[in-house]
């Protein structure tokens, strides 16, 4: 989950990272009650990158200018997102600009401090200019000094930059972050440092143990559509592709392997969901059964999905209940189907037909009973297919996703 700039700066201010005087503007008229001095800069609070290039950052010298600029920003979507807030901020005379970050490096299983004597670096060629320090043991300020020295800083500036890094690290740990970044950290002529812009990415798994973050996430979930949520919160529950075959599985590797098999068999994988752990959008604890229900709903609501392929192997929690969920969905589809008038035009049928065929692959002794009970269901021939072999299940799903081709 990424925070917006004004939220990042609130956090920075609280933990003691120097930020400019600024004010949150919810409506252009708020600028009449501006508490900071002109000239100011107005910045669109959106998640997308390159907002300055898109016109989301404007300077103003007077209240009238500022209101006009704010109206403009409020009505300008950036990467499809309209800002709910605009940040009004003082301006700053920077002599130098640095890049600083703390990031969780999963390859070394440790947080890493990053620093560069240039801001807005080109990542392709950052290698030589960017310095890093791995925080091997419990953090202590000397790690921050190590980085500041590697960056080539000395004396008072080395001390103040390492002081900022120290606070960034504390924020990182306190709030379970994946990333905290200051870009740029401005240095004034007299050596004072100032965080002009910042980025914070919260690790999705930890959100629920921080009441303040859980509340932020809940707000985002209630305000946005599921696609936007994935963009803002991250989408670690699955992969969003644009094909016709939706995949539900139990485990990342298993979902991925199924996806590959579908693609290799000539099918187009669509949304693929891993049901092994709670979805990011779940605000309360969920069971496997809950997640299966949610997953089926997501796939059924997705207009591009023509077939649902479920791949369960070994064991899942609540096997019996899970089978019931599948059975219920299939029977509901069936009854709806029977009440429909079947027309001769295949494509028309697909439009009215509001059910999606399900291929269920179940393997393992725990599923013996399940296979049998699903097999006894009276359904339309394509509505439910239960198989044990994965390659077969994939072939069936691919076949079902091409009804017109089959009918020719």
């Amino acid at each position: 989950m990424d925070l917006l700039e004004y939220q990042v700066k609130e956090w920075f201010g609280k933990i003691g990272i120097p930020v400019l005087p600024s004010q949150r503007i919810d409506h252009p008229t708020d600028l009449k009650r501006l508490k900071i001095r002109f000239p100011i800069v107005l910045k669109s609070q959106v998640h997308g990158a390159e907002r300055a290039k898109a016109g989301g950052v404007r300077f103003a010298e007077t209240t009238i200018d500022a209101i006009a600029a704010a109206q403009n920003i409020f009505s300008l979507p950036i990467w499809g997102e309209l800002p709910e807030v605009v940040l009004a901020e003082s301006q700053y005379d920077a002599n130098q600009e640095f890049y600083l970050a703390v990031v969780l490096d999963t390859a070394v299983c440790r947080p890493v401090l990053l620093g560069c004597k240039e801001a807005d670096i080109d990542w392709e060629s950052a290698g030589e200019k960017m310095h890093h320090v791995v925080v091997e043991q419990e953090f202590s300020p000397f790690y921050a000094r190590r980085l500041a020295l590697k960056m080539g800083l000395q004396g008072a500036l080395m001390q103040s930059v390492s002081g900022v890094l120290e606070k960034m690290y504390h924020l990182f740990v306190q709030k379970d972050l994946d990333l905290v970044e200051i870009n740029p950290l401005a240095v004034s002529a007299n050596g004072q440092v100032m965080a002009l812009n910042g980025k914070v990415r919260i690790n999705e798994r930890a959100i629920k143990r921080h009441p303040d973050l859980a509340e932020m996430a809940a707000k985002i979930i209630s305000r946005h559509t599921s696609t936007e949520i994935n963009g803002i919160l991250g989408d670690w529950d699955g992969v969003k592709m644009h094909g016709k075959i939706g995949i539900l599985g139990n485990g990342t590797g298993s979902v991925m392997a199924t996806l590959d098999l579908v693609a290799n068999a000539g099918g187009n994988p669509g949304v693929c969901l891993n049901l092994r752990h709670a979805f990011l959008t779940d605000t309360t604890p969920t069971t496997f059964r809950d997640r299966l229900e949610t997953g089926l709903k997501i796939l059924e609501a997705d207009k591009s999905i023509q077939v649902i392929l479920i791949n369960f192997l070994g064991s899942i929690p609540q096997t019996e209940e899970v089978v019931e969920v599948i059975a219920r969905v299939v029977q509901q589809n069936n009854s709806e189907l029977e009440s429909q008038v079947v027309r001769s035009n295949g494509s028309k049928i697909r439009q009215v037909q509001n059910f999606t065929p399900i291929v269920v692959r179940l393997a393992g002794s725990e599923f013996d009973a399940a296979r049998k009970s699903l097999a006894t269901l009276k359904t339309h021939s394509d509505a439910l297919l239960v198989v044990e072999n994965l390659d077969e299940a994939v072939a069936a799903a691919v076949r079902l996703a091409k009804p017109t081709a089959n009918k020719k």
Binding site: A107, V173, N250, G314
Partner: protein, 295 residues
């Protein structure tokens, strides 16, 4: 790694990732499960196991515990593991998925200092077919034999075992190191264990996008592993994205390939190390037969 059937095993917590069936399966397999720990439930019995409030109570009653299987809620994993370490348990298998990564960083610092072996999190554990089952791997897919499996996946691990068993290729040891971005034991450690294991004649490595462990494994195989290794990487067709926990651009600045974390980078590394790669799980037995002469 102590994988003898006599070694004493504890279960900490009984969250959704472990069920009565799993416990019964471990017991049926002969695993020496002595007790469960579930704070607040001391004195009860669960799945035929006596339950205690604290690990130290179990040790008081049963003596040294060799391995603990942690299945508490994700936010309680760090505490459970630290409790196990404080009670001098030297092997920890974490089944639970969804553990916050900074908790794992803290745990790994401690485990390294105390020389504790941590497997997982988000791992179904270890099975030595016919001998011992530590975790939730479904034993019905396994049969004793000479192929070692080391994997980062959960379900996909048994998928591979199932293919081997169907093809008449038994397994020596199968371990999942866990599919999370930050896990305890590494591919390298397990490749070494399997290379030294007398029963194992060939190794199957199962990988997926994210991180750099497959690349590290490929280099290690080329340098240090004498036994034949076959690999399978899931997710070649998946779009790259942060969804699979790549560190992304930031990773490149610390001397890494911009492709870091992708299935393509892993496949390239395996090719470089001349490790045969299966296209799909069902192709693994065929590739194995080319490398070793079994049956």
């Amino acid at each position: 790694m102590n994988l003898t059937p006599e070694s004493k095993v504890l279960i900490q917590g009984f969250c959704e990732f472990i069920s009565g069936t799993h416990v019964a399966q471990m017991q049926a397999y002969g695993t020496n499960l002595v007790a469960g720990v579930n704070p607040g439930c001391g004195g009860q019995e669960l799945h035929g196991l006596p339950v205690f409030d604290l690990v130290e109570e179990v040790i008081e009653q049963f003596g040294v515990i060799d391995t603990t299987i942690i299945c508490v809620d994700p936010y309680d994993v760090l505490d459970a593991a630290l409790e196990a370490i404080a009670s001098h348990i030297s092997q920890i298998i974490i089944i639970t998925a969804g553990v916050p990564p900074l908790d794992m960083v803290q745990l790994l610092r401690k485990a390294e200092a105390c020389e504790t072996l941590v497997i997982g999190p988000n791992s179904p554990g270890i099975i030595v077919p016919g001998k011992i089952l530590l975790g939730t791997q479904p034993s019905e897919f396994y049969t004793p034999g000479v192929v070692g499996i080391v994997s980062r996946s959960s379900t996909l691990t048994y998928e591979v075992a199932y293919e081997l068993t169907k093809a008449g290729l038994g397994q020596s040891i199968s371990v999942s190191i866990g599919s999370d971005a930050i896990v305890g034991s590494s591919f390298l450690q397990w490749l070494q264990i399997l290379d030294e294991d007398e029963t194992t004649e060939a190794i199957v490595l199962v990988g997926q996008p994210g991180g750099g462990s497959e690349e590290a494994a490929a280099r290690y195989i080329a340098e240090a592993i004498d036994k034949p290794v076959i690999a399978y990487i899931a997710g070649r067709q998946a779009p790259p994205g942060k969804s699979w926990r790549q560190t992304g651009t930031l990773a490149t600045v610390i001397g890494r390939d911009p492709n870091f974390g992708t299935a393509q980078s892993k496949l390239a590394a395996l090719k470089e190390a001349e490790v045969p790669v299966a296209e799909r799980p069902s192709q693994i037995p065929e590739l194995l037969r080319k490398e070793i002469k079994i049956n």
